[in-house]
């Protein structure tokens, strides 16, 4: 039954997701940009800095947006990025 869903659901605040801890091994990056492009939450972007291989490794825009799907890890040809769950403090 199609009803227009315009409200922010009342329990939106209650759902908690684990926080991400993104690890970027900068000097291993060859700057292909796969992790940036295919991140479903657009957590990463190209940084200005130049690494040992003369490319711009990714940098984190907003770690809180990361949902730890780890697709960046899966499509990185250089084993240069991986994501862990932040050790759980209270509130998560």
């Amino acid at each position: 039954m199609p009803v227009r869903l315009w409200r922010t659901p009342l329990d939106t605040e209650k759902v908690k997701f684990p926080k991400a801890e993104i690890h970027i091994i900068k000097d291993q990056c060859k700057g292909c940009g796969f992790c940036i492009q295919f991140c479903p939450k657009k957590v990463l972007e190209e940084s200005e800095e130049i690494n040992a291989r003369g490319v711009h490794p990714p940098k984190i825009v907003d770690e809180d947006k990361c949902i730890i799907c780890s697709f960046c890890t899966a499509v990185c040809p250089d084993f240069a990025i991986f994501v862990l769950e932040k050790p759980c403090k209270e509130g998560c």
């Binding site: 690890h23 900068k26 060859k30 292909c32 796969f34 295919f38 770690e63 990185c76 040809p77 084993f79």
Partner: protein
């Protein structure tokens, strides 16, 4: 953000050989990534794992994997692996090599290994050309594609690798692109557990050598092409699963049960000589 932590998969790599030789935007690293991920998922006994490769960019993958590995001559990894698998059927023998190595110079070994159903597992990186030698036309180069040896456009019809594998008798045949990293890993996990000759084609970006001549200068552009063109059609007719600029049919095409050559061989040996050595036992049952 912490940096000094090691990558969870680095334990499967020969640190001494890192960084790998592959270009930025090349998909070979993803294939290696998915392969070791599958090994990790399966908690495989690394002592029993042998990785064999031929010549070409992806040929280096064998050396990069921190297990028993052998880097053979051009086109011969399957023949070499046949010797390994028959000599010790307990070993998991995986061939990681390229389309030119496996299907041009090595084509004969491929079809016969598939026909015999030798229990070796083949993961083929298809980058549409000879990358390491500078981007010459190869058995998978699409019609009209520009390469350093088809400056006026390729007039040879490319192989449909999954069709070839299925027709030759492989018990497991799949095709993914490097963008389908997760599914590729899942299929590799299957491939590693199956009996008989298994084959996975991985369509992989080669921007520096192939893409640049064909309007795809970066790995990203090639991956976007994969994204646009790929259609998952499991168990569809491999004969129809061609690769064109509009459509790349991916999925698992064949997954059948068939006794492997080594099983039949060692069952025979067992019949002929009950007392025969080591090799016999595990298959005699």
């Amino acid at each position: 953000m912490v940096e000094e932590m090691a990558h969870p998969l680095s334990k499967f790599l020969r640190e001494a050989m890192m960084p790998h030789i592959w270009c930025s935007g090349c998909g070979n690293g993803i294939i290696l990534n998915c392969f070791v991920q599958a090994i990790d998922d399966l908690q495989m006994n690394l002592d029993k794992l042998v990785v064999v490769s031929g010549i070409g960019c992806i040929g280096r993958a064998a050396g990069y994997t921190n297990v028993n590995s052998f880097h053979t001559t051009h086109g011969r990894p399957i023949a070499f692996a046949t010797g390994v698998k028959l000599a010790n059927p307990e070993l998991d023998v995986v061939i990681v090599s390229g389309d030119g190595d496996l299907f041009a110079i090595g084509g004969n070994h491929f079809i016969h290994a598939a026909r015999r159903n030798i229990g070796v597992k083949v993961i083929c990186a298809n980058n549409f050309n000879y990358g390491m030698t500078g981007g010459q036309q190869g058995p998978t180069t699409p019609l009209e594609a520009l390469t350093t040896t088809t400056p006026y456009g390729n007039i040879e019809h490319p192989f449909n690798l999954v069709h070839l594998a299925a027709a030759s008798g492989a018990t497991f045949v799949a095709r993914w692109t490097t963008l389908h990293a997760r599914r590729l890993t899942q299929s590799i996990v299957k491939l590693l557990q199956k009996e008989g000759f298994c084959f996975i084609e991985v369509v992989t970006p080669c921007p520096e050598i192939f893409g640049r001549h064909n309007k795809m200068r970066t790995g990203l552009e090639m991956m976007e092409w994969f994204k646009k063109a790929s259609v998952v059609e499991h168990f569809s007719d491999p004969a129809k699963a061609e690769i064109t600029s509009e459509k790349i049919v991916v999925g698992e095409f064949v997954d059948i049960e068939k006794p492997s050559y080594e099983r039949l061989l060692h069952e025979k040996i067992a019949q002929i000589n009950k007392k025969a050595g080591e090799l016999v036992r595990e298959y005699a049952s």
